[in-house]
Amino acid sequence: MNPDLDLRLKSVMKALAEVILPALPPEQRMARDQTHLALGHLALLAEQWPYALRYELESLDECLELASALAPQVRDPSLAAALIDSVARAKRLMRDDYAAVGAALHAVKAAIDHALADGEGETPLSAAVLGAVLRYNARRAPRERSWHRASGLDPDGPRLPRFQDFFDRG
């Protein structure tokens, strides 16, 4: 691909920073703020897009693990079957198709959601269910924080590992 995606993003950022932003009068604060935000978004996109498929695959695999852990804990057989079915469908998909991976992720999350919301009625959460979701979250949250580190919103940002490290180590 020539020009490739990186070059095109870099060119847009250069135009925004060197041509458009200096042309905005200081009193147009909203327009200036939005330009800075647009630059921030583009910088994040430039960093993240090469990893976008791996990000979605990692998210999907985490959810499949959670769905598999929850299925034996859910009392309602139809909700347990929906979990098992969503896992089976996701395992059959083409893992290099970004849109298909995203759609499967949504489907598995929906099945998990139904199981968590309705699976135990109004009885207290079981320790097994709580533990499974917390293990899922403990794997996911640190990666997510690193994924968004460059936004500057995270107060621990400077101490977080690079998100690339989560994927490059396989």
Partner: protein
Amino acid sequence: MPPASSDASGAPPRVDPWDRDDLEPRIAHVLARKLARRDLGPYAARSNEQVASQLARLYSVRGCREVRISALARMTGGASKEQFVFTLEHAASAAPERLVLRMDPWMGIVETCRGREAQLLAAYAGVVPVPPLHAVDADGEHLGQPGLVTRFVAGVTAPSDVAAKAVTGVGIRFEHWTAKLAPQFVANLARIHALDWRCCDLSYFDAPAPGTTQAALRQVNWWSRVWRDDVVEREPLVTLVERWLRENAPVCADPVVVHGDYRIGNFMFTEPDGAFSAVLDWELAHLGDFHEDLAWSVQRLFGVPREDGELLISGLLPRDEFFAAYAEAAGVTVDLDIIRYYEILNAWKCIIINNATASRAALRGQSHQDLVLTWMPFGSAVFMDQLGELLREVGR
């Protein structure tokens, strides 16, 4: 339906933790209003001419003659309201007035009520520094959308001599200003909670029953409805935490006005004296448990690390010092178990605001701030990590 009832034995009234429809009526109304606007299509930011014309109509129907709106300019900041500064003159005005309009787009990061905000600004005049209320159009009868006008207040949310990047206030560094600002931050929060709200006109509010779990459960009901209405991608942790919150709601003995967003970026001060000139953004305020505000202020995302690594809550003071100073100022005991409950509720609520409403609004293009709205979810993982830690703590 009465929200809670006591029996003849005088036992504390029981609130059904699974009654998802127990919301304050006005909150239920504004959330339904948001859904009704959903099919209107994308929202285009208003032009200055449109806003000037709508303001002229608002003041004309309020009895002003020869209304003149001038020097109108869009303000920056925030992620939910369109804000404009303008000058008002009319036949009876002694001098031009510099005013600020806060108006709803079709959808923002939160859906709230300008009428509630106006009542609080009136109630707190002279209690804590607030922008003086000038006019309100709670249902958008004259402005086209709900809006609120206040007098312009001088001041800054971030010191002009300290460099830092900040989006909606997150990330402001106060540095040498903290000695002046921290005591005021604590004192004003204590004053907010000390208001005798029963003597004020808060007709847009509906108080939870004292001595029950209704204060907490109404918050759970509010935000779980928002999640169901706005969710873009389901999140197992959010569903799990809702259940936990219902099962573990604490009793609130004596409801107070909870500001709801008391943190870095939501107060202004003047330079160089460092005096608070306004407590801002009352839109999430409600009647509830004072611990909720404390737990909101100490959220990790609103903190700024000091040089030695200690996290300063809202960039001002360490957590333990904040609780101690508040307890002394308010004359109350801070219950750390209740703080933990509200830390969980608040982190859960922030994920809902950032991941559901912000994303839904941007997806439909129904705000003037789509770029900010798609930036806000970047902070949600901080809340997710925090929720994991908190739930592990309560499980020990």
